[in-house]
């Protein structure tokens, strides 16, 4: 092991970290390095410093401290019984790498996770140590996201929150039975218990800041979690239900969905097929409907098909509209914001533009066309001064008319 270079370790430990979907660096407290001794700033909006050919943003240095692990979770490439190459960084090595990358403007900060070595507490202490060195010894003011370990003591997890912008605990699988089957060492109750503690810390720190200006911040970018999609039998309805419970109970900033992708040396109980990327996309769309469009989780579930899954060929908002056609057409010149947000093809921005411009003119179809991406998608669901969809909304084949024509090509068709 001593013979491994930093480069070799980086290759192994970045490779091992790539199954974590999150790379967000947004929504934290504003800070900069003026008047400090170090470097770094966060100004609200996250920055993607590069994009990998998988279309995902590279914002943070996302690595594991080590990929040695005493757990044996079937879906995880780093599980005990896996044959992958192993490596281990010292906290100082991670600190040096983070600073070297940050100074060259490659990254917004660090996303550190780890396999479990020795004990959960020991591992969590090592993770916190990296953040401590960065913040205290180098006055680093960039973004830090720490993965916390549910089995570790609450006190150490609390320390993590004091250094980090965001902390996260993965619920891993949408159902408890899936977790029992695929992650025998993990415990759903313990995971949710840990998320509950983090939530309590968040609430308390926020309250303290209101009363004492210099009270310490606790994870100002909140907490998030991740669920693996397609590794167990959970339907989209199960997943949406789980996500909304998590949002409600733990005040999460984000629930990430990660399409299960084949991992090297996978366990035999898992499907070895291409990750269900479209399904993942539809779940994110449903997540958006709940967070920004005012849909209740039960309403999103209404958009699922008989098997409990969202349709893959059309987006969930269109699926909902096609099921509840009596809610349409919506008059863009009179309808409420809530009604407009339900129109397939109208995004939040377009709705705001419609609300602003209709104070100045009676909108015609051409005006709406200027404010939206695609008028053909919107047309069957709205009326304007010069447009009524007459029979269009009632047509039985409306779905076929609106579903995207071209199927996504299989990239590697057999």
């Amino acid at each position: 092991m001593a013979s491994q270079t930093i480069l070799q370790k980086l290759e192994i430990l970045a490779d091992a970290a790539k199954y974590d979907a999150s790379c967000a660096s947004s929504g934290t407290a504003k800070k900069n390095s003026l008047g400090g001794k170090g470097i770094g700033s966060t100004e609200g909006m996250g920055i993607c410093h590069a994009y990998a050919p998988d279309g995902r943003c590279i914002s943070l240095l996302k690595i594991l401290l080590t990929n040695h692990c005493v757990f044996d979770c079937h879906y995880c490439v780093n599980r005990k019984s896996s044959n992958v190459a192993r490596a281990r960084f010292t906290p100082q090595e991670v600190v040096d790498l983070t600073l070297a990358f940050y100074r060259r403007n490659y990254i917004e900060g660090l996303f550190l996770s780890s396999g479990i070595v020795k004990s959960s507490n020991h591992t969590m202490e090592q993770i916190v140590e990296v953040a401590r060195i960065l913040r205290e010894e180098h006055d680093f003011r960039g973004y830090i996201h720490l993965k916390t370990i549910p089995e570790a003591d609450a006190e150490i997890v609390h320390q993590a929150g004091l250094y980090a912008d965001r902390v996260s605990i993965n619920v891993e699988l949408p159902t408890d039975s899936g977790l029992t089957r695929l992650a025998p060492d993990k415990n759903a109750g313990q995971i949710e218990g840990a998320m509950g503690k983090v939530k309590a810390d968040l609430v308390e720190a926020k309250d303290a800041r209101k009363r004492f200006r210099h009270a310490p911040r606790f994870a100002p970018a909140g907490q998030s979690t991740q669920m693996i999609v397609g590794a167990d039998a959970a339907t989209d309805a199960d997943i949406v239900g789980k996500a909304s419970r998590l949002y409600d109970n733990f005040r999460l900033r984000r629930v990430y969905y990660s399409a299960f992708s084949p991992i090297p040396d996978a366990s035999a109980v898992l499907p070895l097929k291409r990750p269900p990327l479209i399904r993942e996309h539809r779940l994110y769309q449903s997540d958006w409907l709940m967070r920004f469009y005012g849909y209740k989780p039960t309403e999103v579930m209404q958009a699922t098909e008989a098997d409990g899954n969202l349709p893959l060929d059309i987006d969930p908002k269109l699926a909902w509209a096609l099921k509840f056609r009596d809610a349409f057409p919506v008059d863009v010149n009179r309808a409420s914001k809530e009604q407009l947000l339900r129109v397939p093809g109208l995004g939040v921005k377009a709705v705001h533009k419609i609300l602003a411009s209709r104070r100045h003119r009676n909108l015609r179809l051409d005006d709406v066309a200027l404010l939206t991406q695609s008028i053909t998608k919107v047309r069957p669901f709205i009326c304007t001064v010069d447009w009524q969809p007459v029979t269009l909304t009632d047509r039985a084949d409306l779905r076929r008319l609106l579903a995207p024509r071209t199927e996504q090509l299989e990239l590697f068709a057999a």
Partner: protein, 483 residues
């Protein structure tokens, strides 16, 4: 009264030319625009000229700014307009100054005009603003510093230098971002539109630079490139999504971008490897039939293994001289867990008996271990396995053959033949004669009994005759080999 005084300053019918000192000077534009509005100079009588731009349009226009009356009505502009204009003026569109002036002019009559998102001028200024914000955002993201070390007074000085090519006049406007972020670093950003230099205390602006002025590399880039390659998940290739956010025009100044073509090309291979590696626990050939039996039940190497079905193992003596290979288990075989028990199996049994071959003495198995079907209501309809699926499953049939070591293999049907040979052959061409296998044993190929089941009348009689002839030849050859 007011009109009279204005007339003293403004020559009626005069065209005004405003020469901008720099392409991004909002304050200068605001001051001139305010004076022109107050003097009621309509937009079509003002030409705005950028540094280096030509003022041909109004070559004889008045270059002095008109002086508004001290009591002139104040110019109204709401906050939304000012914030849009500050950004839009950084755009490289030469029409931007005129557009902004036209908007300001119209705002005097309609102060809430900016809310009318369907107005073409409002839309255009929002578009300019959006382009500039995107360009700034990409500058924050894609600037790549390279370290230059120098000696000064016996100490090593670290200076970070970047080369960037923005689309718009955004360099000066973004100095603050880099200053706030790298306040304790010495850095320079060189661009074709001007450069910025920060020494830790003071920001200096410099003239436009060239790419050759910037350092050509940094040892840390090897680590960064290896990080970029490692964090990429080849199973999720989405090139369009990448190009949308990181268009090719930026690639030449990003050290990691050189890897993209090779990562994309290698993705398919890497994914296949990941899937293949997943079966590592079977990488060593099982040494007993029982081990094969156990392993095929967990096999998920091809899509058939992921259907709701059970693997069906071959059966018969481990030292059988004859190995009979079919295509794949059918619905009944899948339920019972034994090969050749359904209608085709029963037909096979009758023909074997007729030829004098004892089925119990033969090792009977299938080229593909799982039942491939499509669900039609309650029925599961047989589907032929694809070439790739047969080839994937060859691993098992080969393992079985290595253990049983038959002297003669009878492959029934094209799938079975492919399972043995690894290539597709025409049954009518190869039947009736032995094909030598790698271990010296013989392969005989004939039709699959289910083929006979699908035929009627004369055709069926003809095929049954050929099938019997093949079996008879096998029986004869077996006796010779046993001889």
């Amino acid at each position: 009264m007011k009109t009279a005084r204005n007339l003293a300053n403004v020559k009626l019918g005069t065209y005004y030319v405003v020469q901008m000192p720099t392409p991004d000077d909002f304050d200068f534009w605001r001051e001139r625009a305010r004076a022109l509005v107050q003097c009621e100079v309509p937009p079509d009588r003002v030409a705005w000229v950028e540094p280096g731009g030509s003022g041909d349009l109004f070559a004889h226009g008045e270059r002095r700014s008109p002086v508004p009356d001290p009591d002139a009505k104040p110019v109204r502009a709401n906050r939304r307009f000012v914030s849009l204009a500050r950004n839009a003026i950084l755009h490289s569109d030469p029409e931007r100054f005129a557009l902004l002036y036209r908007l300001l002019w119209r705002l005097q009559a309609n102060p809430r005009m900016m809310e009318d998102k369907a107005d073409p001028d409002v839309r255009r200024v929002e578009e300019l603003d959006k382009n500039v914000r995107r360009d700034s955002h990409k500058m924050h993201a894609f600037v790549r510093f390279r370290l230059v070390e120098s000696e000064k007074d016996g100490e090593t000085q670290e200076h970070y230098v970047a080369w960037f090519e923005p689309d718009h006049h955004i360099v000066r406007a973004n100095a603050g971002f880099f200053m706030r972020r790298f306040s304790n670093m010495q850095w320079s950003i060189l661009t074709p539109r001007g450069s910025l230099h920060w020494d830790g205390e003071i920001m200096r602006e410099g003239p436009p630079a060239e790419r050759s002025d910037a350092p050509q590399g940094d040892p840390m880039e090897d680590l960064w490139r290896s990080y970029y390659a490692s964090i990429f998940n080849p199973a999720r290739l989405k090139i369009g999504a990448m190009l949308k956010e990181m268009p090719k025009k930026y690639w030449k100044n990003m050290p990691e971008a050189a890897l993209i073509p090779e990562l994309v090309a290698g993705a398919q291979g890497r994914e296949a490897k990941m899937v293949e590696k997943g079966a590592l626990e079977f990488e060593e050939r099982p040494e007993t039939l029982a081990a094969i039996d156990k392993a095929i039940h967990g096999c998920r190497k091809c899509p058939i293994g992921q259907l709701d079905n059970h693997a069906v193992m071959g059966e018969g003596p481990q030292d059988a001289a004859l190995m009979i290979v079919g295509e794949q288990p059918g619905d009944q075989e899948d339920q019972v867990g034994r090969p050749f028990v359904g209608p085709a199996g029963q037909l096979l049994d009758r023909h074997l008996e007729k030829a004098g071959i004892e089925r119990k003495a033969a090792y009977v198995t299938n080229a593909v271990k799982h039942f491939k079907y499509v669900q039609r209501g309650k029925r599961r309809l047989h589907q032929s396995p694809g070439a790739k699926e047969i080839d994937t499953c060859r691993w098992w049939i080969e393992s079985e053959r290595a253990i049983v070591q038959p002297k003669l293999v009878l492959a029934m049907g094209a799938s079975a033949a492919r399972g043995m040979l690894g290539k597709t052959v025409s049954i009518s061409k190869v039947r009736g004669a032995p094909i030598e296998l790698d271990d010296g044993s013989e392969l005989w190929v004939t039709a699959h009994p289910s083929y006979l089941l699908r035929l009627d009348g004369a055709a069926r009689e003809e095929q049954a005759r050929l099938f019997d002839a093949d079996l008879a030849a096998v029986k004869e050859r077996l006796e010779e080999l046993a001889g």
